[in-house]
Structure formats: C-alpha cells, structure tokens
C-alpha cells in the first residue's frame, strides 16, 4: 500500500503541526497563556488544542492553557516526513490510521500505473509526480530538431501599426486628432473647398453618391461659399452641394474644423477612411485611409509649409526630401513632396499647399492655413514591403500570421 500527503499534510509538514506550534508558543510564554492572547497566533487553533489535550501535553483551566509537558518528538511529523520520502513502510500502522483520520495523508493505488513500470512514456502527468511513480518509468527522448506545432500569438494588424506610428508621431508634433462623418455632404467635401460644381473630380466616376439631401447647419458658411462660387465660377449648383456622398477626401474634415475653430493657432490632423469609385486591382481599391493635416496661425508662409513637410517626412524614415510644384483646387501654391528612402529611391510622400483665400475666407478664417496630406497607403506598403494595396485590407490569415 502507498500513501501520499494531502495538501493539508504538505502544509503541516512545511509549517509544523498545529499542536506543535501551540506547544512552542506556550513554551515561549513561560508555560501558560490566555486563549484570547494566542488564538490568532496559531493556524487551526482548535485542532491544535484538541490534539495537545488528547496527548496530555496541556490542560485547560478556564480560559488559560497550561503546558504540562513538552514532548521530545512529534511522531506525526516524523511520519509525514517519511511518507513524503516514500518510506511509508517504516511508519507504524496506528500512526497511519491517525493521519488518514486527520486527512493529512491519502491512500494511492499504483495498480493502474503498474503497467507502466519500466516502460518508456511520453508525457509526465501530475499523478506520476504525486505518487512518485515517475521513478519507475523512463521518458522517451525527443528529437530536439522536430519543428513544433504552430502557436499563433495575438497581433495588431500591420497596417494599423503603421497608422498608430504616424498618429503618435503627429501628436508628438503638437497636432490634435479630428474626426468627421464617413457619409458627408458634398458641400463640405467639395464646395467649401472651392471645387466648382462641374469639377471633373465630382462626377459619378469619382464620388459615391447616397440618396437624400444633407442638412446645412452652418447657414453663414453656406451663404459665403455660394457667393465665392458665383463670383469666380459664374454659377453654383446648390442641389449638387446638398447631395449626400461618401467622403472622398479628408480635406472635408479640415474644412469642418476650420469652420468650427474658435481660437488660433490650431494644428489638426485626421487619419480616416475615404471612398472613391475605381477599378479594383493591385494598385487601386475603392476605400482607403488618408492622413491630412492643417496648421493655421498668423504669419505663416510657404517656407513654413515646406518646414512642416520636411518634419513630417521623417515618419517615412527618409533623410532627404524634395519638393515640386503641383495642383490642388483648394491650395495655391501647391506642392508635391518626395522622400528618398533607402533601397527604393525617391518616393512620392504627399501633397500640400496653402489654402486659397477662396477656401478660408468663406469658412470665416482670416489667416494663412497650411494644409498637407500624407501618402499613408504608400508608406504602409513600403514599411510592410508589399506591392499590392489589397494586403492592407488583407483577408489572408496566413499572411497576417506570418508578418
């Protein structure tokens, strides 16, 4: 027959039997103590008192415990030690019975383990450890070169990681993040940006239209925009301006932020999804993220625009930048920025400009506004070393697990 310690048995072996602890405490206190004084000092006080009395080591006088004799040895403790060391055959049967009764040990049967004796096994089990039967078996050797099964860890999407990096970078530069509605009013997406009603980028090939008409909450801006369009383009299509669309550029968010700005200077950015009808292939998808920002303050000029661009270009990891003239309907002058990146050469990094007065004045802003957009998709594709935009919105789990 084999015995093993229960959890309580393990604990007593480690911390001492409760009755032993009681004797120790009484001895320290000169042989007697009030119950209330020592009760809390001893774990399982009641058990301790019960067994100490039973053994005739102490007696109880009212509320006082008196040590009668201090035993030389504590046989239960010795027994626990032996059983732990798998020498239970050396323990007296009565003592075994007592320990079983006190639930400090339990019987184990090796019968079902017997068949493993001397065999080579694969897995070490809790039972084998507890019974000590592990001594009777040997372990199969592993081939340490066998590749392990895959365990996939949780991961942030690689594109989201790039976006987070850009976001943190811009916040570090003092930019505040803004949001806007994905379903927009044409007015904020185009008209407020001085794009004429018949601008080619406003056709059904370039903007997704939604049924219904938007509500114009800023009547003042509406009137100003109407005036500026009529003055410069000779007409303005109010019905078109009220149409609801899917946001096609985050410059719409910049326009809203400028219209709502109460205090200057401001530095604002937005990283969010935009939508454009297009062919769907390796280079084009109909929705993608855009990163746009504005800086509005007194006395800003073209050199400052280039200064910000050069600073922002650092997020691409490029050391050199170059600028060339460009065209956007809402900025003048307009700039395109290229960044020199190791292994890739010059890469188009973004577009920028100073908002035209025809944009800012109707929004109620009378100071220069620098505006820029970052080629986020291109940045991400470079960083992830992929050449297909569809990876950024990948539905390929294998790729996501591997990067």
């Amino acid at each position: 027959m084999h015995y093993v310690l229960t959890d309580e048995g393990e604990k007593y072996l480690e911390d001492g039997l409760p009755e032993k602890n009681l004797i120790m405490v009484l001895e320290r206190r000169g042989g007697k103590a009030q119950i209330s004084e020592i009760e809390s000092e001893i774990d399982n006080f009641n058990i301790a008192l019960l067994w100490a009395k039973k053994k005739g080591w102490v007696e109880l006088k009212f509320n006082e415990i008196v040590l009668l004799k201090k035993p030389e040895v504590f046989p239960e403790e010795e027994a626990l030690k032996k059983i732990k060391e798998r020498r239970s055959e050396e323990v007296d049967n009565n003592l075994i019975e007592t320990l079983l009764q006190r639930k400090l040990i339990e019987k184990v049967s090796f019968e079902h383990l017997e068949k493993l004796r001397g065999k080579e096994i694969i897995s070490l089990t809790p039972e084998l450890i507890k019974t000590g039967f592990w001594r009777e078996v040997c372990f199969k050797k592993y081939d340490v070169n066998v590749p392990p099964a895959e365990i996939y860890r949780g991961k942030i999407h690689p594109y989201v990681k790039v976006i987070k990096e850009v976001r943190e970078f811009l916040i570090g530069l003092g930019f505040k993040e803004a949001k806007g509605p994905l379903v927009e009013i044409n007015f904020w997406n185009c008209d407020a940006l001085f794009m004429p009603s018949d601008h080619i980028a406003r056709e059904i090939h370039d903007i997704f239209f939604i049924e219904g008409e938007g509500k114009i909450t800023r009547k003042d801006v509406w009137e100003n925009v109407k005036k500026i369009h009529r003055e410069n383009w000779g007409y303005w299509d109010e019905v078109l301006a009220k149409k609801i669309i899917l946001r096609s550029q985050n410059t719409a968010i910049s326009a809203r932020e400028l219209a709502n700005a109460k205090k200057f200077p401001i530095k604002i950015f937005a990283i969010d999804r935009v939508f454009r009808p297009d062919v769907i292939d390796a280079k084009h998808f109909i929705e993608f993220e855009q990163c746009e920002g504005i800086v509005a303050d007194e006395n800003l000029n073209f050199k400052h625009l280039l200064g910000y661009l050069k600073e922002i270009a650092r997020v691409f990891g490029g050391k050199e930048v170059k600028f060339k003239p460009s065209y956007f309907p809402f900025t003048e002058p307009s700039v395109e920025m290229y960044v020199k990146i190791e292994k890739f050469g010059w890469v188009e990094a973004g577009g920028a400009g100073i908002f035209r007065e025809e944009v800012t004045k109707p929004l109620g802003v009378n100071l220069p506004v620098l505006a820029w957009g970052l080629g986020l998709g291109r940045l991400a594709m470079l960083k992830l070393n992929v050449d297909d935009i569809r990876y950024l919105y990948s539905d390929n789990l294998s790729w996501l697990r591997s990067v």
């Binding site: 949780g154 942030i156 999407h157 976001r167 916040i171 003092g174 505040k176 993040e177 949001k179 509605p181 009013i185 018949d198 080619i200 370039d206 997704f208 939604i210 049924e211 000779g234 007409y235 899917l246 401001i266 530095k267 062919v279 769907i280 280079k283 084009h284 109909i286 929705e287 855009q290 006395n299 800003l300 000029n301 050199k303 400052h304 280039l306 910000y308 661009l309 600028f323 060339k324 003239p325 065209y327 003048e332 002058p333 307009s334 700039v335 395109e336 188009e348 577009g351 920028a352 100073i354 220069p368 505006a371 957009g373 080629g375 291109r378 990948s394 539905d395 789990l397 294998s398 697990r401």
Partner: protein
C-alpha cells in the same frame, strides 16, 4: 490632397517635336526636371515620347505648343508676341438655348504638317473630355475655311434637317446622326431634349453640328491652308478660354489668327484675347512666400513665367497672357513666382506654433481594447466598410435590413455601408478555412447607421467585434472577454437573454451598459455557418465603443 490611389490621366507628346518647338537640345533628365519644375508630373520619357500627367489647372499644357512656350520662357529663350488680326468674317448668331455660347476664329497661312494635325487632334480630345466636361461644357469644331461658302450662321435646326457628317457618304438627318453614328450615340444626350439643335450653316447647308459631328464637306485635310474654328458650349468663360488656347497653338505654329465678328442681338468679337493685370508688392512676396526679393528680381521671375511686367513706385503689375486661363487672383501669381524661384531654392523653416497634441478619444479607447484582445491571442483584421445585403443579412439568416446604399456602385460586392462588423469577420473565416484552428480574429472599425436627426442622415459608430472559431468555442469564453473589456473602462455590463436568428437559440445575449444595449455575444447558428461554409463552431462578441 493625396492622389495616390487614383490613376491620373496622361497626355503623350512627341519628344522630338517638343524639343524642336522649344528650340534647344536637351538630355532626357534635363527635360524631365524642367517639366517637373513647371508643375506637370512627368510620368516617363521614352525614346520618342514624353508622357505627362494631367495638370488640370494649366489648360495650355494640354498642348505641346503651350508646354513648349512655357519651357522656352523658363529657359529665358525668346518668345513671340501673341497678336490677333482684325476680323474680316462675320457670323450671324441666333439664340440656341441648349447651347447658348459660341466663339469663333479664323486661322490663315497654316502649314498643316502631320505632327500639327496629330497635336490638334490630341488637344481637341483632351479638352473635350476634361475641361469641356465630355463636350457638354465646351466642344470644338475645326473646318477648312475654303469649303465654307457665303454667310456663316449659328442657329437652331429641326431634327429632320440633313447633312453629310464627317466620315459618311450619304446625307443623314440630325436625328439619324444621333441614332446611328458613334459620336451621336455618345454625345446626343447633351442636346436631345431640346426642340432646336445647334448647327452652323453656310450657303450650302449645315457644316457643323456641335457638340456631335462636323460635316464631311468642310473637313480639314493635308491641303487645308485656312481654318474656321467654332467653339460652342454652356459656359461663356470656358468657351472663350478654349478659343484662347487654340489661338495660342496656331500662333505658336506661325499661322495668322484672325478674329471673327459675331452678330446677334449684340455684336461681339472673338477670340477675346485679353491681357489682364494683377498687382502685387514685394511685401506680398515676403509675407506669403517668406523670401525677401527686390522688385527687379520679382520682375525677372515673372518674366520667366511669361508675364509682362511693369513696375511702379510701390507696385509690381503682372500682365497675364490670354492663354493663362487658370489665373484667378494674386495667389496664382505668387505661386508662379515660387515656381520661377524654384521650390528647391526655398529654405524650409519650422515655425514655432505652440499647440498641444492630442489623440481622439475614440482612438484611445480603441487602442486599449486592442491591447486586451491581443493579450487574449486575437489577430486583428481590417475589412472594407462597404459591403452588400447578401453578406450583411441573407447569409446571417436575417430578413433584409435598412442600410445606407450607394447610388452608383462599381461592384455588386460593395453596394452599401456595413451596419455591423460580424458578417465581415465570418466572411474572413470563410476565406481561411484551410488555415489551422483555433482562429481568433477581431476588428475595430466604424459602422454607419441611418439617423435622420443628423445633418448627413447618418451616424458613425466605432465598434469592436471578435470571433473564435474552435472546437471549444463557447458562449462563456466570449462573455469573459466582454467582461474584461468593460473592466478596463471600470464599467459594469450585464447580459440579457436574446433570441436572434443568427445565433443558436438560448445561446445569445444582449450586452447592456447603464440600461443601454451596446452589443451582443453568442454562439453562431449552424445554419449561418453552413451559409458561410465554415465547418467549425464559432462564438462571437460585438460591442459599440462609443459608451466606454
């Protein structure tokens, strides 16, 4: 501001021709840098061609002659004066409401080489498509002046009137032209609803049917020496601007351009080849561009951009050439100064604009949730916001639901905005059934719901959703995750039994926060799994993050 994902239209020029017009030999690299510094993006230069991306403000760059003139000017080479001769020909004008504006000119002493014919055809096509808004706003007709007889008249014709259209042998009525010719089918809609259709007629009959087709009789051939130009459209400025660009092209080719008198209710001379003046000061240049230049230097820079300049005591008067139809205000002139100065010569300067950086609250919340889910071993995915009814409802075992739909979708897969994230995640699982399980993926993203109280009749909601596909994927597992998410925001959510066709009956619950339903958890109905062909139990959660 970033055009990265949109293919820009391009224009192709003959390289040899361009260099001949410029009058200077150049290496490809030099030419490329030069054009780039003038604004157009050079897409490529090959042995014979120069391909540039559209610069839609500079209509003059749509022509090889216009680009060549700007290059000459930028290089300091001499350019000729642009002068229009007095009118000899009169066009009588009767109002045609569907196409009210016209402008005409005559070109004489033209040497019509192959390359010029090619260049004219290119320019015509590019302007028709782009600036002319597919011929609606502006259309151009070029005719052999010698074939036009007697008095020219612009008038409205009935649809039964006949002429022989370009490329045809037989007479056709105007209505037949619309019905039978390629151009008629493509552009007929511009005029078809009107009673009277626009035509130019002479003694013989119709010779131009704008914006559809010219007549075969007056077509321009290699023998043509003199040309009659008709420009028609719906926007007066645009019509005049296009005639200015064509005048520039012919003048640059050494021909004489002669004005035409248009006689209607009022008399008018076209082209209106007017020079405008815009005043700037050196302070404008300093304030706006950040460079300190004297008047003389500014004058030189403007001349490099083909302006005529006169200086007064305080002011710099920039005279804008008639072909610069893009110039609106002094900021356009200032940009030209910057271009002439060279963007590479500006010293970038970071000003001291003190502001506090700040992440948007919803992104901060999203990041915290992301961290929890990654800790639980979830892989993040990013899915399109556009989707379709079949995926959002039918496959989810639901009746069709209310969504925001696109009026002009480009693919049946993407016809409306998603109202929940779960279908996209199941679609993801369905595409990856060959990958090893367990599969635990999540998405944090926006859905868009109808909301008539909002200015855009809609509202964005930031949500998180996750799916666990595994043998041991149970309700209690996703419930634990929802509790952990709410714990990080120190919010207490409760669960209410829910009956929902997408889930196994009795194994789904609403997630409630402060009495408001913010999401759900559940085990996916095997019927739905069958629809997606996912042969693995899936449990899921989806929560709005707006209330955390």
């Amino acid at each position: 501001m970033v055009e990265e994902c949109v293919k820009m239209p391009t224009i192709t020029f003959d390289k040899k021709e361009l260099l001949t017009l410029v009058g200077k030999k150049m290496k490809d690299e030099e030419l490329e840098n030069l054009i780039n510094s003038l604004k157009p993006n050079v897409e490529k230069i090959t042995e014979n061609e120069v391909v540039i991306e559209f610069t839609s403000d500079r209509v003059d760059y749509f022509s090889i002659e216009g680009l060549a003139r700007s290059i000459r000017s930028y290089l300091g080479l001499k350019n000729q004066e642009l002068k229009i001769q007095k009118p000899k020909i009169v066009v009588t004008y009767e109002s045609v409401p569907v196409r009210p504006y016209i402008a005409c000119a005559v070109v004489r002493n033209l040497e019509l080489t192959d390359s010029l014919i090619k260049s004219l055809m290119n320019l015509q096509e590019v302007i028709h498509e782009n600036y002319g808004r597919k011929r609606k706003k502006v259309a151009i007709g070029l005719h052999d002046l010698e074939k036009i007889k007697g008095q020219i008249k612009y008038t409205g014709a009935s649809r039964e009137e006949k002429f022989v259209p370009l490329g045809e042998r037989e007479e056709m009525s105007l209505i037949e032209v619309l019905a039978k010719t390629e151009k008629g089918k493509k552009y007929g809609h511009i005029i078809s609803s009107a009673n009277k259709w626009p035509v130019f007629v002479d003694e013989i009959g119709i010779f131009s049917f704008p914006p559809i087709l010219n007549s075969d009789r007056t077509k321009v051939t290699e023998e043509t020496k003199n040309i009659f130009i008709d420009i028609t459209g719906t926007d007066k400025n645009a019509v005049n601007n296009v005639l200015n660009i064509f005048s520039l092209v012919f003048l640059e080719r050494g021909a004489t351009v002669e004005a035409v008198k248009i006689k209607g209710e009022r008399e008018e001379i076209t082209p209106k080849f007017l020079e405008r003046a815009i005043e700037i000061t050196k302070d404008d240049v300093k304030k706006f561009l950040g460079i300190d230049l004297d008047e003389e230097s500014i004058k030189k820079l403007l001349e490099k951009m083909d302006y005529k300049v006169s200086l007064t005591k305080q002011k710099i008067i920039a005279i804008i050439k008639p072909y610069r139809v893009d110039v609106i205000s002094k900021f356009d002139v200032l940009e030209d100064i910057a271009i002439a100065f060279g963007y590479e010569n500006f010293e970038p300067e970071l000003p001291n604009v003190f502001t506090q950086g700040e992440v948007h609250k919803i992104e901060k919340i999203s990041d915290e949730v992301r961290e929890v889910l990654v800790g639980y071993g979830f892989q993040e995915v990013v899915r399109p916001i556009l989707t379709n009814q079949k995926l959002q409802f039918e496959k989810m075992n639901l009746k069709n639901g209310e969504t925001i739909k696109i009026l002009n979708p480009v693919s049946e897969l993407y016809t409306e905005l998603r109202v929940w994230l779960l279908p996209g995640l199941l679609d993801f699982l369905a595409k990856n059934t060959r990958e090893s399980y367990p599969q635990k993926v999540f998405e944090i993203g926006d859905v868009v719901l109808k909301d008539e109280t909002k200015e855009t009749n809609s509202i964005n909601i930031r949500k998180v959703a996750g799916v666990v596909a595994d043998n041991t994927s149970f309700f209690s597992g996703v419930k634990r995750i929802v509790l952990e998410i709410s714990k990080i925001f120190k919010k207490e959510v409760s669960f209410e039994e829910m009956s929902h066709p997408s889930f196994i009956e009795g194994r789904a619950a609403k997630v409630v926060l402060n009495g408001k339903e913010i999401g759900f958890i559940g085990e996916i109905n095997p019927l739905v799994l069958e629809n997606f062909k996912i042969y693995m139990p899936v449990s899921t959660f989806e929560l709005s993050l707006e209330d955390f």
